[in-house]
Symmetry: C2
Subunit: 362 residues, 2 copies
């Protein structure tokens, strides 16, 4: 039976960049006879507009039943004041939690042909290749108690709780150590153990797991504030970084921006392999929905296309097809084609569709 | 009566850079007849070694009685495994909390003569001048419940709580708006209101205060992950940033590193003016204790010297003396003198004492 693929374009530029992936899927079917069982549905603001909620139970069920989810991006200023329970962002938070997608893998890699696109000096970022493993179903994102309460004097109090258990820390650290073994064999674990007990436990659990099962991998520890600095000072010192949900949110965005080409970076969020051997997995570009340029043909579809390549590689074990797409993207960049976000002097500017066509042509 | 000044050099390079400030104080007494009532005491690892605790009640009382505190830096790897209650860092956390020092002002400014020291391209950072106002007595640093508990199955759970009240948010936002009025009149408030209710309250309270009392100041809002990105993408878009304790910790370190000269940046942490008109205030360099270079004469004393200038300006209203020191520092840099941390080709390398002497000579 063909693999089941759920496509969730979402808001903003999501639909237009996803369209370029659909064209690649069509080409795979025609030229190579590779067919997927693809269904598409609404999430985020798009779902709010139709169903009054950022994601429906049907979509969550469909995601659970799929072999992999290809996600666009959510977020729409239209819903900015719609209330905390009707944020488009809930779509991705719910998918992570309901499917148990606990490990967000975010590579920050500088493409040789784009080393100049960074705001950092080329000699600082050339060859940069960091993999951030961010925990995504725990920490302050989901801990309780949480909420806003009104105090007797009429003023208010906002509360959120950061919680991490041994098991939650271990499983995400395992992902990081396993990845490191296939890379430069170094893991840097990041927390604020000098201020937060949850960070102290994080450090202790990672250290113990390392001693028990991963002594061959080099492990270092870094405070989150220092990590933010070190990423700017000397980002190439890092191989794999493992950290909690909130620090991972900031640090992975920071790392991406070092590359200067946000529109190029894919990500995978993985769960635990089930008894049936299936790996819950969602793939998405690291960039957001960019409502300011939506519908203008300016969006860079490469991160979405590379997210699809990542999906083929990790979820469907289609190494050849994944490599084919990745090489096509490299070639297109080498030929000097650029969407506006990565445009520079002497290159050829193309729009979303033009970039998609160029990748197809390769 | 002369102003009471409490000097707390702390650990690592703290004592040696503070020594350079003491030389300036001596000069002020001799050459200008300006005398302070200075006392000096131990904090951090230095206090742990003598008193078994990172800060004694006597030192806290002395800080409370002083007109201003000049702090060096704390942190010493010797005490890394001494337990959560015996961290050198407790010294600064306790001083903030006990003196009610709720607003940490951290300027990230690029000195013209040092624009090349940044890892960012000079055209991205030249003229950069950000003021980060970080809340420092609330949020996840101090919220309860907190701790590590053992679960029935023997595994553990680490917990921290982020709490912000209307009053805590308002008073720090006020500091930011007031500062903005003396600068470029723009405030960017940073939180994660799309994920955290405490961030949602933060945004609402800042928005309401703005409408009520500061409508003349331009106010924008930014998510913390986006802010980390924007600082790398285009840091000059910011004037004043106001944010909570944890985000402020990461973002202010990040902003400092953009300048490429961490050893140059002072900070002030201010409380609420008391009924007696006194403003509780602590001044410290933004860099850490740098144990790796301690005692080698390599440390850059300028951040500590500029922290003293900030103290003269804000706490003692000695504008002329503050300007004298700041101009001396500028001149020394213009003459090409550099400690190892900011050394570059064609400049003259000096040690800690040499830099201090050069400032004195000016
Ligand atoms: C959309 C938002 C809830 C999300 C997050 O904060 O996790 C995003 O910033 C991300 O990094 O995936
Ligand atoms: C020393 C440490 C507790 C402190 C903090 O995290 O607040 C430091 O990083 C700072 O920014 O002043």
């Amino acid at each position: 039976a063909p693999k089941k693929l759920l496509v969730l374009p979402g808001d903003g530029i999501g639909p237009e960049i996803m369209h370029e992936v659909r064209r690649i899927m069509d080409w795979m079917a025609q030229a190579r006879g590779i067919r997927f069982d693809v269904s598409e549905d609404l999430v985020g603001g798009a779902s709010l507009a139709v169903h009054g909620q950022p994601i429906t139970q049907e979509v969550i069920d469909a995601a659970r039943a799929a072999d992999a989810v290809l996600f666009g991006s959510v977020g729409d200023p239209k819903w900015a004041s719609a209330g905390f329970d009707r944020r488009p962002e809930i779509a991705i938070l719910k998918l992570r939690q309901e499917l148990g997608l606990f490990a967000n893998l975010r590579p920050a890699k500088v493409f040789d042909s784009l080393a100049d696109a960074s705001t950092l000096k080329p000699e600082v970022v050339r060859g940069l290749d960091i993999m951030i493993v961010r925990e995504t179903v725990g920490g302050i994102y989901f801990g309780t108690p949480r909420g806003i309460e009104t105090l007797p004097d009429g003023s208010r109090r906002g509360i959120n709780t950061e919680v991490y258990t041994t098991a939650e820390i271990e499983r995400v650290a395992r992902v990081a150590f396993d990845l490191a073994r296939k890379r430069d064999n170094r893991v840097c674990s990041v927390e604020k153990c000098n201020v937060m007990e949850s960070g102290l436990l994080w450090k202790e659990v990672v250290t113990a797991l390392h001693a028990r099962e991963y002594a061959d991998v080099e492990l270092t520890h870094m405070l989150a504030d220092n990590c933010a600095m070190q990423m700017v000072r000397n980002p190439r010192q890092f191989d794999v970084i493992v950290t909690g949900n909130l620090f991972g949110d900031l640090l992975s965005d920071l790392a991406s921006m070092l590359t200067g080409s946000l529109g190029m970076l894919p990500s995978a969020t993985l769960g635990a392999r089930g008894e049936d051997g299936r790996l819950p997995a969602l793939y998405e570009p690291i960039h957001g929905s960019a409502p300011d340029i939506a519908g203008q043909g300016k969006a860079n579809p490469l991160a979405q296309i590379l997210s699809f390549a990542m999906l083929l590689r990790y979820s469907f074990d289609m190494q050849d097809e994944a490599a084919l797409i990745e090489t096509a993207v490299s070639n297109v960049l080498d030929k000097g084609l650029r969407t506006p976000d990565i445009m520079s002097a002497g290159r050829t500017e193309v729009n979303t569709d033009g970039m998609g066509s160029a990748v197809l042509a390769e």
